[in-house]
């Protein structure tokens, strides 16, 4: 669904490569998580996948970017955005402001494309239902909580019917309640057949919702693997990403020979409970 081959990029007027020789393959209908320390180039990569680099930001991009069958560099931005949608960090900036109710806000993109009225109405209803925001449709987009606003922002992209959706730290400005809302929506989107790429640093939630995790460090996608194995990888410390306390506790227990060396390290609560249950069930040494 997404195929980045040997992609390197430098912003305009700089000779410093933010990304160099990046390779990424994403299977359709999966949730891919990308983690990286601050300043590792997450936003840049998000913009490359979604076509804003090179179409808007310019700069020097080499390698090939193919998303949903389209070679991004060869199509116009308008075409690129019909293949892949981008949800930015701040819902405040994602909302157009041109509309005074959530219902019209959701339709903004479809109006721009000239979609017929009946079809727009249907798609608005369907998307609102999918994200559970039907009750907000008549409210002002600016009178919502941060979490609700982010759901509206995501809905406003989903309605564009792009098969691929890129989310750049969609929960960074939300409280734990809002964060849960957004992550739960990711799973329903995957069930609806959308391919998701999520840039995040909330490791426990990423473990629960992502299929594959890639690590962005030293201007490359330096490692990847299934979410549990990757997020429990001790090298994440070195790359400035850290680990959950579940992983840290299990690793410490392993060091003290309380857990078996072969046991896979847990990342989330759900991973951890069986590991430690098994330990408790074993007879004392």
């Amino acid at each position: 669904m997404i195929d980045l081959a040997d992609v390197s990029y430098a912003y305009p007027d700089t000779d410093h490569y933010v990304l160099s020789h990046v390779n990424l393959k994403v299977e359709p209908g999966t949730v891919t998580g990308i983690v990286g320390a601050s300043g590792s180039g997450k936003t840049t990569l998000a913009k490359i996948i979604s076509g804003f680099i090179p179409h808007v930001d310019g700069g020097e991009l080499s390698g090939s970017v193919v998303v949903d069958g389209a070679t991004i560099a060869d199509v116009t931005l308008s075409e690129a955005v019909s293949h892949v949608g981008l949800v930015i960090q701040s819902p405040f900036n994602q909302i157009s402001g041109a509309k005074f109710t959530v219902r019209e806000e959701l339709a903004f993109g479809l109006e721009n494309l000239g979609v017929a009225r009946e079809e727009m109405a249907e798609r608005v209803t369907a998307v609102a239902e999918l994200l559970g925001i039907t009750g907000l449709l008549e409210r002002s987009p600016y009178a919502l909580s941060g979490g609700q606003q982010q759901l509206v922002a995501i809905a406003s992209m989903i309605i564009m019917n792009t098969p691929v959706l890129v989310m750049d730290e969609p929960t960074s400005q939300l409280d734990p309640g809002g964060t849960r809302m957004v992550f739960d929506v990711m799973s329903s989107l995957r069930d609806a057949g959308i391919t998701l790429v999520v840039f995040e640093h909330k490791l426990e939630l990423l473990r629960e919702h992502a299929d594959i995790v890639h690590v962005l460090a030293e201007s490359q996608l330096i490692a990847s693997g299934p979410s549990r194995a990757m997020l429990a990888d001790p090298r994440l410390e070195k790359w400035g990403i850290g680990s959950t306390r579940f992983t840290a506790a299990a690793a410490a227990a392993r060091d003290r020979k309380l857990l078996s060396k072969d046991a896979e390290l847990p990342v989330s609560l759900t991973d951890a409970v069986p590991e430690f249950r098994a330990f408790a069930a074993k007879k004392g040494a």
Partner: protein, 259 residues
């Protein structure tokens, strides 16, 4: 959540097609300026503006808001022109070196009556028309969607801008910035206040434009609208009648030789 003066009610006036109201406003303005008789403005106020305001239910707010704008202007107009109108010869009241001329007062009456119509009628339009509806209606008639975007989003941005300005003021005071002092000092403290405001809002622009592009704002397709703007044949006919009336008003003084 926006800064508009829109007074949300369900009257007939509120439900009119915004373009009908806009054309009515323009016709009224053309008529009062084209026919230079103060009582024409008076008749328009009594026969059109006041009844419309009463029907809309926004009359109270209209009166309050318009008075606040009009009172200082009218006061200055009558005093200044009454006293200093260049063509004034007939002195009707004198006190020391101050004379008030009837020509001056008549001139002020003429100008003042037109200003009153201008303010009352446009205020009524603003009070009874949601800006979003006005934009949809104009877009339907071919106005660039960029205008609609800019106007609507500015209206919603201004409150956010104010909130941000307040936070900045607090944040800098919390860093020991004192607001007291000489006028020169007060100008100097503008920098730590204005600079984060401008920087923050303008750097947001990059994200906002990215989000807009992602939602096909750059598309060249013919736009559609989710919610149709209500219209009727009666309104369509009235719009043409209003346009004809306005043109007639422009012709009247020439025909009657008033010029």
């Amino acid at each position: 959540m926006s800064t508009t003066l829109f007074d949300n009610r369900k009257s007939v006036i509120h439900r009119l097609n915004p373009v009908t109201k806009l054309i009515a406003l323009l016709a009224i303005i053309v008529i009062v300026f084209a026919i230079p008789l103060w009582w024409v403005a008076g008749i328009i106020i009594v026969v059109i503006v006041v009844p419309a305001a009463v029907i809309s239910g926004s009359g109270g707010r209209l009166l309050k808001l318009s008075l606040r704008i009009l009172l200082p202007i009218l006061l200055v107009l009558f005093i200044v022109q009454g006293l200093t109108f260049p063509g004034g010869t007939t002195v009707i009241w004198q006190w020391g070196i101050i004379d008030i001329t009837s020509e001056g007062l008549l001139f002020a009456l003429g100008v003042g009556s037109r200003i009153v119509v201008l303010v009352l009628a446009s205020m009524l339009l603003v009070l009874t028309t949601h800006p979003g509806d006005l934009m949809s209606a104009l877009s339907e008639r071919g106005m660039s969607p960029k205008f609609a975007y800019i106007i609507s989003s500015t209206l919603q941005l201004i409150p956010a801008f104010r909130v941000r300005a307040d936070s900045i003021l607090l944040a800098q005071q919390a860093r020991g910035l004192s607001l007291k002092g000489s006028p020169f000092r007060r100008i100097k403290i503008m920098l730590p206040l204005l600079s984060p405001l401008v920087l923050g809002m303008f750097t947001d622009v990059e994200e906002r434009s990215t989000a807009m592009e992602a939602r096909a704002f750059g598309s060249t397709a013919k736009r559609t609208a989710l919610i149709p703007v209500p219209d009727s044949t009666v309104q369509n006919v009235s719009r043409w009648v209003l346009i004809v009336l306005a043109l007639a008003a422009v012709a009247t003084p020439i025909v009657l030789g008033l010029l």
